[in-house]
Symmetry: C2
Subunit: 662 residues, 2 copies
């Protein structure tokens, strides 16, 4: 539709005013982007984007991701003006306790926020994940008769995002995958937080993106018509992701700081009176929105809702014509029970000895059949992580319905793209690499936990059992490093049956991420413990694996591949010894106090834990009187079994430790 | 010098043989790169690189970094052939326990290894750090009369490294900084571990690098003359870093797997007999090196040593002419004592109330004066991290002597470049960003610890005290997440004087990294504790801050900004209460058992700890009978003081917890 530049210019300046007033009021926040990108916001929310404020999770909406999350007043202002459930009062509570307008946009907190952003670079990768999800959804659900998914994903990023490695990985990935439903707007204002951007960056961005396989347009980001033209061109383009380099003036509207690093944060707020006057805003009315701007957006909303209703009609027709597809799409909202998944996962032969990653390979095939919307990927390690869904093929430009994504050697973007898929909520994402490289994806894992995203991490080679690859590849602190992230479940199964429980636990969970920490090396099935006990025990996080046969004197604890040593030690130590398998600290700590007391009675202080990793977190279970057998150093390059012995992770060590306790 | 292609071709094939035999012997390792890059190795070690095997740490050697560390047999073979202290026996012990030839190259383990590599992408950033260090050294130490530093840094990387975000960040940084002493060889073999590279990457690499500001050459990596020509051109070029895209055949020499993903790892080893025959190696003699190849490298070594001796003469003349510069350069090897640094750091006014980051700003100026080789940088946050060395200026293309590096918004490369600087051993690197973004630099931090590099991390905004920026920017688990890395010291000072102790402790340490976790918010000086106790106490990691005045009944513990609450609570709780300040778990845990027992007597079980973060690691000090007041959830967006109260981090909480204990 033709652009009403007069009213949208006015809206842009009023959005600037909202940002200035909100930041001024709480004396905190970032003015640079909301002011520098006001015209972009006006065109996006006043014209380009398809959405319905009354149905903010509409399946076929255009997704907008503010990768530069510090500019949060940008998105809050435009969501408010567009008619989302975000009042002027909410804007006035910017950055206040329990408000809907926190310092950085948070998924779950505010309608219309697609992703939690702020940690730089993440939003670009999240948007790549949304684009992937939408492309996959279109491939799975659209039919020749009915188009259910045909939207775009638009991300707005500044220099900060564009310098980050996670963004650079995602940018390469998006190009390689030819995600042409992805539009990235680069707010290029030549300024970073500290200084002019030319103090830290250079080169020719347009050429760089073109070399990677993007289409590139460069425009004046304050020219409403230019912005509209660029978006319309980008939306029509096919075969490549779309970059719009929008040259802008940071903090435009506050002459004292505009175009400088001082314009980035709240520094300009002290000039708010002059700025508001310059922007044509009434001196006596803060948080001002004029009636004509209100009227424009009310009218625009009507158009948006009309389009939405058209889609609903199509959707209903599609549902009627494609009941199976509709049921599949609906299944995204169903919670699948662990019990059901376990029922569908065959028991392993009792005499089997195999790595939990290899067990995982078999379990994955069983659960993938139950969860057709489960998709996965590996950071170029399918041959080692063994998480290829064998019933399906690669996801790629020619097969958007494929369930296996080759992420390349891009662990950080992989995890952040998985977040994007999870934010979208249609597919259930799982990703894989070596456990030691969890460090590469940690910032995205943290955000998965913060945003309660049910991402499944299948991370293998989980101890010094890695062997010859040596300390660079042997996690010793990685498991503990992840356990400390709030809401992040780490499950380290002790044998193949516990691995089955781990998959079931992870996939049953819908309110947060779970990492499966799986062995490289083969380990025996622990047949002394009945299989259903091993499987169900994992769901509790910790459980009595071997019950004492006399009054309890000693508790042994272990996780993962070291559970076998605790079980063996109990046989030597005799009747009063209990073995507690502790595959998941987080799940155990969520159990009621009574359960925890039943497993680990407070009165029993002779406690020894064993784990092939750093010891610190185990003291919450063994206390000051117990001992932890672990590895508080880096590993070494040698065959795995040799390293285990050399570092004292053995049955004998458990026995000796118990005997040393009074 | 002209290339003896006949003998170097022979050497290349014998190096292939060494790799095949070593991998075959231990049935583990990676053949793809050593075989694919054999001609590159022959030209580098047989012609291009300046080094002296008898003085492997010669200041003006060319540095070679095998970023693709999994191809470790490449570097081991060429170091052996070149005459480094690495015997044929060492090669036969490839990947064996305690050998000098671990699975991935490890600094400290093998002469000639410049950096620990293997985690992909790191080596490219390490090499960038080496190049930065060498450029800085040249600027500081070369004179019009004498050139002491004029070498090159050469890094070899494969597709895996080139896809990683950390590498992409470093590549941008190197271009921006115009580090023309950096030569990156891209082993472009069109294959990754899982599959053909075109399954995960695309685009035009040469154009991409040119757009960033690199010079690019593309060559046949198996053509000895082409390789030599490219290096000679790259070494002569100025003003830009140099990329050589070497097209190679992975695993060349084992026809059954060459050019395919199967050639990457040890898969080709089973074809070793045929391969060795095809390479012209004797069937009956494994680990074969011919006499003429030995003779060539012996002769080449003589030339290298002659050049080295020429340099030594120049160096001696330079020393005589520039005693001050010589003393400065020598000072890199001196260990500076914490006592000395503390003596030079003025006390803070007793009535001061300031953030530990602001205290750090002042302390840094004092210690920087004592350590003229201390250089630093920030990830575009100097205005917040406050770690600019005010007596000096920016490091940039026009001022290589500047002590302040603007790393851009590239936390991962920043930390990895700092590792490169530390590996070089001339400058002492320090880097800074918000603590929550330690996650972005974690893989490099782990390697700093593994390689015992004394990198200083000045990471600020260390708790929910961050306030309005909200949970994305509020570390709650970050401190604990870092504490679990073996050998990695995290110091969280409780007031400005403890901050002085923290800087002194960190800079005295030469065998590993230290992170300073500093507050955003102002905190009071804890004048109840004498300043020298606060300063010296930090060196022990934990110390008695407030001594009980009656028989000890209760121990309170705290770190960082929460120490004030423990001190306040002790006043309320009365005479039998001791306050233990615990700024650094790692230092405390390294103290003798007697010291630890004196601070935390085993018999006293009424213990309460408080820290504005996750609680898990504190149980090693409070045991099963104590309590930890912490934050086992993510934070919230609101003013910092509000968040502290809302999450229960208060003096009252400490008192109540103590009272609840029997």
């Amino acid at each position: 539709m033709p652009l009403q530049t007069d009213i949208l210019s006015l809206a842009a300046n009023q959005a600037r005013g909202l940002a200035i007033d909100a930041v001024h009021k709480c004396n905190s926040g970032h003015l640079g982007l909301p002011l520098g990108c006001a015209e972009i916001g006006a065109v996006l929310f006043g014209n380009v984007l398809a959405f319905n404020p009354d149905a903010p999770r509409w399946l076929n909406r255009d997704r907008f991701v503010l990768s530069a999350g510090h500019g949060s007043m940008f998105i809050y202002s435009w969501l408010h003006l567009s008619g989302f459930d975000l009042s002027l009062e909410d804007l006035k509570n910017f950055r206040a306790l329990h408000s809907k307008t926190p310092g950085h946009p948070e998924f779950h907190e505010t309608p219309g926020i697609e992703c939690t952003t702020g940690p730089l670079g993440q939003g670009i990768a999240n948007a790549t994940g949304l684009a992937l999800s939408q492309a996959a959804a279109a491939a799975r659900f659209n039919t020749a008769e009915h188009t259910i998914f045909d939207n775009h994903v638009v991300a707005l990023a500044g220099d900060g995002c564009m310098q980050e490695g996670v963004a650079l990985e995602a940018i390469s990935f998006a190009a390689h995958q030819k995600l042409d439903n992805l539009i990235l707007i680069y707010d290029s204002n030549d300024v970073t937080l500290d200084a002019m951007a030319n103090k830290s960056q250079g080169g020719d961005d347009a050429k760089r993106f073109k070399a990677l396989g993007w289409d590139v347009q460069t425009i004046d980001g304050h020219d409403l018509n230019a912005v509209l033209k660029a978006f319309n061109k980008a939306k029509k383009a096919t075969g490549k992701p779309q970059l719009i380099i929008a040259k802008t003036t940071i903090a435009k509207g506050i002459p004292e700081v505009a175009g400088t690093a001082k314009g980035h944060g709240e520094g300009g707020a002290k000039f708010s009176d002059g700025a508001r006057s310059g922007l044509g805003l009434p001196a006596d009315q803060h948080f001002f929105v004029s009636d004509d701007v209100r009227a424009y957006f009310a009218g625009h909303k009507k158009k948006l809702v009309r389009n939405y209703k058209k889609w609903v009609k199509t959707f209903e027709a599609w549902k009627a014509a494609n009941p199976e597809k509709a049921a599949l799409l609906d299944s995204r909202n169903a919670r699948i029970s662990a019990a059901h998944l376990l029922e569908k996962t065959p028991l392993f032969p009792a005499d089997a000895k195999l790595a939990t990653r290899a067990a995982g390979q078999q379990i994955l095939q069983a659960v993938a059949a139950e969860l057709p919307l489960l998709i996965g990927g590996s950071a170029d390690l399918y041959g080692s992580t063994l998480n290829y869904i064998a019933s399906d093929k690669d996801f790629d430009e020619t097969n958007r319905a494929g369930r296996n994504i080759r992420f390349g050697i891009r662990e950080h973007a992989m995890a952040s793209i998985a977040n994007g898929i999870a934010y979208d909520g249609i597919f259930r994402p799982s990703v894989a690499t070596f456990l030691v490289f969890a460090d590469y994806s940690r910032p995205a894992m943290r955000l998965a936990s913060l945003s309660k995203l049910p991402v499944l991490y299948i991370y293998t080679h989980d101890s010094v059992g890695v062997g010859e690859d040596g300390p660079t590849h042997q996690p010793v602190e990685t498991v503990s490093g992840l356990r400390v992230i709030p809401g992040f479940d780490v499950i380290r199964p002790g044998d193949p049956e516990e691995a089955a429980g781990a998959y079931a636990a992870a996939l049953e969970r819908t309110d947060g991420p779970t990492l499966l920490s799986l062995t490289r090396q083969a380990i025996p099935l622990l047949n002394d413990i009945p299989p259903h006990i091993r499987r169900a025990g994992v769901l509790k996080g910790g459980y009595v694996a071997v019950q004492e046969t006399a009054p309890l004197t000693t508790i042994l604890m272990a996780s993962g591949s070291e559970l076998q040593y605790a079980v063996n030690a109990a046989k030597i130590l005799g009747e009063g010894t209990r073995v507690v398998s502790m595959p998941c600290f987080e799940r155990f700590n969520r159990q009621p106090a009574e359960y925890r007391e039943a497993i680990l009675p407070t009165a029993v202080r002779k406690r020894v834990a064993i784990e092939a990793g750093v010891t610190g977190l185990w003291y919450q279970y063994v206390g000051l009187d117990g001992k932890v057998i672990g590895i508080d150093r880096f590993g070494m390059s040698a065959p795995g079994a040799t390293v285990f012995k050399e570092l004292g992770i053995t049955t004998e060590a458990v026995v000796t430790a118990v005997q040393s306790l009074s």
